[in-house]
Symmetry: C2
Subunit: 440 residues, 2 copies
């Protein structure tokens, strides 16, 4: 045994480990050894028993998977969960969501909504999330307190909002936040231009320049509906994706969210530039946005991540549901029951998400040198038995309530389904308070 | 207060009651009074406090809904959950499912698989299920022991199976089972002709005659895929639905399961005859079968129920997931985010299911005179807060793990998520045993 394996601060034994690298590996009766928050080795149970460790956790009947990556959301909007449903897109936005945000979005709203979202996400195995909302500085502080991992996609818009007066202020606030977060290793700041129809081309050009100079990610709603694309073509003669490419905003730092209206030329552009797609199947279905052609993207070599979107349009922040729906939707869309198999769905929710956020050197798989972001899923219950294949069970039979433990950088944030860093009672009391304020 | 309200064996107070009748009613701070297993009144909290009762249950933060009705499944196939996934339909059936059933389907397999299914269903709020599988007599005994409610759709096929040698034996066994179950008030027996392509027309004609004479329900897979319909048209010149109608098998006793390939004439035939549709959205998506046009069916006045199908093709028996998926799928299919709103999904999973099974005089809503089949859903957790509308939360944000209590005919089968009539430890041990037998 190498010296790396002889001492650890934490060793977790599980009945199955799904490391994601190598792809499709299922390690039975293995263990993960952790030191300084990082994985130092993945090894058979018997060898792991020889490691001198401060803490040893044994999880019979559990699968250990990488922490899930929710690559798109609006965490504070959890306070608007179920506030308005079953409505056409524009009345939903114009008559319900936007007025509520205009009236209530504040740093307090953002803090309380993000806390609620983080509690829900940890309880369903999400360890990293990308967040696009006003007051990202508030989310930054909360993420740090709670010990989660987050990409803050700081919003950029042409028009004023509770967070800024216009592009200049949004951009300067985003850059200031980036400086502020430089030494917080669980936070990264991205430009979050809202969409091609809310951010004009000169502003997008500036973002392209800054993103290239500063090596910053860009996170953007794109091709959410066919109508969005058609409107752009009518107004500019160009598909939004082509505009982004022409101005240099499409590349390996770009995270394109939704992408429901894609032709062969769009898929080729994504593959050629190395841009990432964030698929949000439940949101796309609920808002009748369209369908992202995931199989064709993957075949073309495009990396695809998964996102829940915000709870106002989902209405949960649960990547187990999202993996399940992604697999079912692809089969229906492709007219092929072998499309998007379970292992691919799990890849999208872990390594695919990590790659999209540019974090795959640190997270997304269970491998030595990566952070110990780990989720223990209890597969002993009646909805996950008998067990022929843990990957099938996780994608097709789990709903997140089987997540018993969650570690981020070796710190246990969920212990037997109890949150250790967030005050759930206080978080729920604040959510109830907002219910009364928003819809008295 | 009427004399009916002055004494009860059980009174349940809940923060919200969703009685389903009247449609869309949400009763805040109400209670249900139960006597002899039936609901005697639904009344405001204060009035209910005056009732003299043996037991009083107070459920702040909970919604009380009618027991969910799973209108299509194959409970014993839970032992094949995740045994084979992500495969085209025919290899899946011919190379995996059918050989496993041929090798293992026995009364012991059926008993152990059905027990597992029932545990899973009760834990997710299902109180009534329709079951189509070999050895329905075994399921009958188990259902009675566990206190659930069930329609046994006894299989009828042209060919031999572990349950019978051919149509004559299937039919006689079905009729014998019907006689046996006559005095079991939670059981009903239906003819379960498997599908138009596995049961020949003369046999279907016999079933039509018997069903009419004996007032028996008929439960059948129908129009599961476009290929099934096309094959029938090529072989017989007729769509399967037209065949059923011509021979008198399409009527208010007929439960048509799947129904993915429907034209306007098919929908009219269903409406004119009063036949019911059982929609199984997750199974249809996973097997890439097609999409049932639920909105058009409902607009035409056709009653639509929900089913999970078996765990070999779903892979869970969870009607909360199924309501959610039904709503999302309809919005995508219709290109309309207002399609199949939450209340309609809940109706399909309760009163729609009850009507399809011909049981709506006894179950499907919370109304005086109906059986006290009730489910208490805890809406206080982080995935269901804040709460603007309990119906939205139940359909779009619950996953079944919020079900804390389940009563059937006033008997509590789930108490704080503990099963009271099924031995879960033994059930899980048997499922693990079959895992070793089926895939050693």
């Amino acid at each position: 045994m190498s010296p790396e394996n002889t001492a650890a601060e934490l060793v977790i034994h599980a009945e199955w480990i799904l490391p994601l690298e190598p792809a499709d590996a299922v390690l039975a009766d293995h263990a993960v050894a952790i030191r300084d928050g990082d994985i130092v080795s993945v090894l058979p149970r018997q060898e792991a028993l020889a490691i001198d460790t401060d803490e040893r956790v044994d999880l019979p009947g559990h699968a250990l998977i990488p922490g899930l990556v929710n690559a798109h959301g609006h965490a504070p909007m959890s306070l608007l969960r179920g506030f308005a449903d079953d409505l056409p897109l524009m009345p939903w936005l114009e008559e319900h969501i936007w007025p509520a945000e205009q009236a209530h979005a504040s740093d307090e709203f953002v803090r309380d909504g993000a806390a609620l979202a983080m509690a829900e996400m940890i309880l369903a195995g999400t360890t990293t999330f990308s967040d696009m909302y006003y007051f990202p500085n508030v989310v930054a502080d909360l993420v740090q307190e709670a010990g989660m991992r987050c990409q803050l996609a700081a919003p950029v818009l042409d028009f004023p909002s509770p967070w800024g007066s216009g592009p200049d202020e949004y951009i300067s606030k985003c850059l200031a936040l980036r400086d502020e977060c430089r030494n917080r290793d669980r936070l990264q700041v991205a430009f979050g231009p809202h969409a091609p129809y809310t951010v004009s081309e000169p502003v997008l050009e500036r973002l392209a320049t800054y993103a290239a100079e500063l090596d910053m990610p860009v996170h953007m709603h794109l091709h959410e509906t066919a109508a969005e694309v058609l409107n752009a073509v009518e107004a500019t003669g160009e598909r939004p994706l082509d505009t982004l490419r022409r101005i240099g905003l499409l590349g390996p730092r770009t995270q394109c969210v939704h992408m429901t209206d894609l032709g062969a030329q769009d898929i080729a552009a994504l593959a050629e530039t190395g841009a990432h797609v964030v698929h949000c199947p439940q949101s796309n279905m609920k808002l009748a946005s369209g369908t992202c052609p995931v199989t064709r993207l993957l075949e073309a070599g495009v990396n695809v991540a998964l996102g829940t979107d915000g709870a106002a349009s989902n209405n949960d922040l649960n990547l187990f549901d999202e993996m399940h729906t992604a697999a079912l939707l692809a089969k229906l869309h492709d007219d092929d029951p072998s499309a998007l198999p379970a292992a691919t769905a799990l890849h999208m929710a872990t390594l695919g998400g990590a790659r999209a956020l540019g974090l795959d050197h640190r997270i997304g798989s269970i491998a030595p040198g990566k952070a110990a972001d780990l989720v223990a899923v209890d597969l002993t219950g009646p909805s996950t038995q008998p067990l022929y294949n843990p990957v099938s069970q996780i994608v097709y039979a789990c709903n997140g309530s089987q997540v018993n433990h969650v570690w981020i950088a070796g710190q246990r944030l969920l212990h037997d389904r109890r949150l250790t860093t967030l005050d759930l009672t206080d978080t729920l009391a604040r959510a109830r308070h907002w219910r009364g304020v928003i819809a008295p």
